[in-house]
């Protein structure tokens, strides 16, 4: 019995640490979505599909054109950033004065477009980079380097965004607009430009997430559906537009998924996460970090 418990604890610890590593990438995804919501007051339903396009970009650059991973990554990030800016320019900007639901549904249309574009252009086969990073063995626990790398890169990405938001004029303007949409144009800030920059930044975060996810998962046209819903749950649980709430919620969810997956299938981890989410909505409906009124 004692022996059984020892092994169990090791697995438990491994699952906990893997959950933290997963949380890094989820937090990155949530940050991008929160940024868009907080500043432009729009939800990109197609956010996970932008990530999917980025993953295909990485696949083609690395596998087809033979670029090294580290050289391809900046291009993938730029690609998705451009896509984010285009999404704002062509779809969101004409709808800025429309009811919020219309903006959201329009991005739902973009979700259709991106998914079926990928189906038509790339086929429905599962593809991967063919990069196998070694596995780090710590005692009896095993962690893949790809997860460690993702975690570190996600943290670095978030710190860079934090510095950009706090140390530059543009970043300050973005935060100011998130606080008061009406008054900022009077203060000489070009809102259209700020919105475009924010969209590109949100896209860039999706691109970074794509570079990291492609190390761990195969890419196919519907890959967005496997982490899109969980990203939305994280953002709602953290409070839409609340960066810190989203960050914490990402780790909470990642732990639930990872620990749920330890005892059963990974899908059940997701189901458990959703059940937890429903319960949390009863307890803290406005998000984890909401101040009680």
């Amino acid at each position: 019995m004692q022996h059984f418990l020892d092994i169990f604890d090791i697995y438990l610890l491994e699952a906990v640490i893997n959950g933290i590593l997963l949380g890094g990438v989820l937090a990155l995804l949530a940050l991008g979505l929160n940024l868009i919501f907080g500043v432009i007051d729009v939800t990109w339903i197609c956010y996970a599909e932008l990530v999917m396009i980025g993953m295909y970009g990485m696949y083609y650059m690395v596998q087809v054109f033979g670029m090294p991973y580290w050289a391809a990554a900046p291009f993938a990030i730029l690609l998705v950033a451009a896509l984010g800016a285009a999404l704002h320019y062509f779809v969101i900007a004409p709808l800025l004065t429309a009811p919020p639901i219309n903006q959201l549904l329009a991005t739902g249309g973009v979700l259709f477009i991106l998914q079926s574009f990928a189906t038509v252009a790339f086929g429905i086969d599962f593809r991967n980079l063919g990069i196998r990073l070694p596995v780090l063995a710590l005692g009896e626990m095993h962690f893949s380097y790809s997860r460690l790398l993702s975690f570190v890169a996600a943290l670095v990405g978030m710190i860079v965004v934090y510095l950009f938001m706090t140390r530059t004029f543009t970043g300050t303007a973005i935060r100011a607009i998130a606080q008061d949409r009406q008054i900022m144009p009077l203060m000489g800030v070009d809102t259209r430009r700020i919105y475009l920059i924010t969209s590109a930044l949100g896209g860039a975060l999706a691109g970074l997430a794509a570079c990291l996810l492609v190390l761990q998962y195969d890419v196919h046209p519907f890959v967005g559906l496997s982490f899109g819903p969980i990203t939305f749950l994280i953002c709602v649980l953290g409070g839409l537009g609340n960066f810190i709430g989203g960050f914490i919620a990402a780790f909470v969810f990642a732990e639930i998924i990872s620990l749920g997956g330890l005892f059963s299938d990974l899908e059940w981890g997701y189901v458990l996460a959703f059940a937890f989410f429903i319960v949390m909505m009863f307890i803290r409906p406005a998000g984890l970090m909401a101040r009680r009124s």
Partner: protein, 321 residues
């Protein structure tokens, strides 16, 4: 009887008579599909027209289809009992998710995202329980022994299905109209304008919203179950998940959200579009129909947010005035 009622009655009689005069099986098949999906889209629009945009209806539809089929295959429960059970299950799911949403004022973006997650989760559950549901490979209700077709709600001839589909479609329209003319409509419109003001005027915001959501979820589950019984094959992609939810939204927006026949027009357009592409391109069409859907959805929301039928109706009103 005024001329409007006569027009409705004549149309209905013509629709009932149709399969007895015209028997081309492929076209009847298309009509059945159009009627079933029209009913599903109508049930979505009952909520959607009051600003309660749900992307969880794929989930309700999946519950309706899978619960009915699972009860039949594993327990031998007739769909006549299975369908009400599946509707109750979908209704319970709707209440569990919707109650906290409405009670704690989760509206707009939040509501959409929560319901979106709901349909994603139903998809995950169906995939995770692949030992029973066949996972993403799909699921087929067992064929009933001959002579037991009625008990199993399985019919070979298209005319019967056409009449069943026509029946639920008409029921859907009647429910739509009943809500359109009830106090609930005014309450819901007040709520969608301003919840606080509506509450101050004596509207029980949570109860009204729950009522509408429940009706909509029950109807959607019925649509899923009927679809399953007609097609005799369901897979998570065709009756559940986010894609189905978005397809509902798309069809309703294209047809017209605020007119009773809008969802029907949407169903006609989407199904004819998908079929045309499928016949025109064959297997190469995989993905193309959704690509066209997506582009049309974006264009419609930007340029014609009231939908085809809604815009026509508005034009006609202008001329009258």
């Amino acid at each position: 009887m005024n001329s409007r009622n006569i027009a409705w009655a004549t149309g209905l009689v013509a629709l009932i008579a149709l399969p007895f005069v015209y028997r081309e099986p492929y076209h009847l098949h298309l009509l059945v599909l159009i009627l079933i999906w029209s009913f599903a889209y109508t049930s979505w629009s009952i909520m959607g027209r009051f600003g309660l945009v749900s992307l969880g209806h794929g989930g309700f539809m999946g519950v309706g289809a899978y619960v009915t089929a699972l009860l039949w295959n594993h327990l031998g429960v007739s769909p006549w009992i299975g369908i009400p059970v599946s509707m109750v299950a979908a209704g319970a799911l709707a209440l569990i998710v919707a109650y906290p949403c409405f009670r704690f004022r989760i509206t707009g973006h939040y509501f959409v995202l929560v319901t979106l997650a709901l349909s994603g989760i139903v998809l995950q559950v169906i995939t995770a329980t692949r030992d029973w549901t066949g996972g993403s490979l799909g699921y087929t209700p067992n064929r009933a022994p001959s002579g037991k077709g009625f008990w199993a709600l399985q019919f070979d001839d298209k005319t019967t299905w056409y009449l069943i589909a026509l029946g639920i479609w008409v029921v859907g329209l009647i429910i739509w109209r009943a809500i359109d003319r009830s106090m609930a409509r005014y309450a819901m419109e007040a709520i969608s304008e301003d919840e606080d003001a509506a509450a101050a005027a004596g509207v029980n915001v949570t109860a009204e919203k729950l009522k509408i959501t429940l009706i909509s979820a029950l109807m959607t589950a019925l649509a899923g179950a009927i679809y399953c019984q007609y097609q005799m094959f369901i897979s998570p992609d065709t009756v559940s998940g986010i894609a189905v939810s978005l397809q509902m939204v798309f069809a309703v927006i294209v047809g017209g959200l605020y007119v009773s026949l809008g969802p029907t027009v949407g169903a006609i357009i989407t199904i004819l579009l998908a079929e045309t592409l499928r016949i025109g391109f064959g297997t190469k069409a995989v993905g193309w129909d959704n690509l066209v859907y997506g582009v049309l959805l974006v264009l419609f929301i930007i340029f014609l947010p009231k939908g085809i039928l809604g815009s026509i109706a508005e034009r006609l009103k202008f001329k009258k005035a």
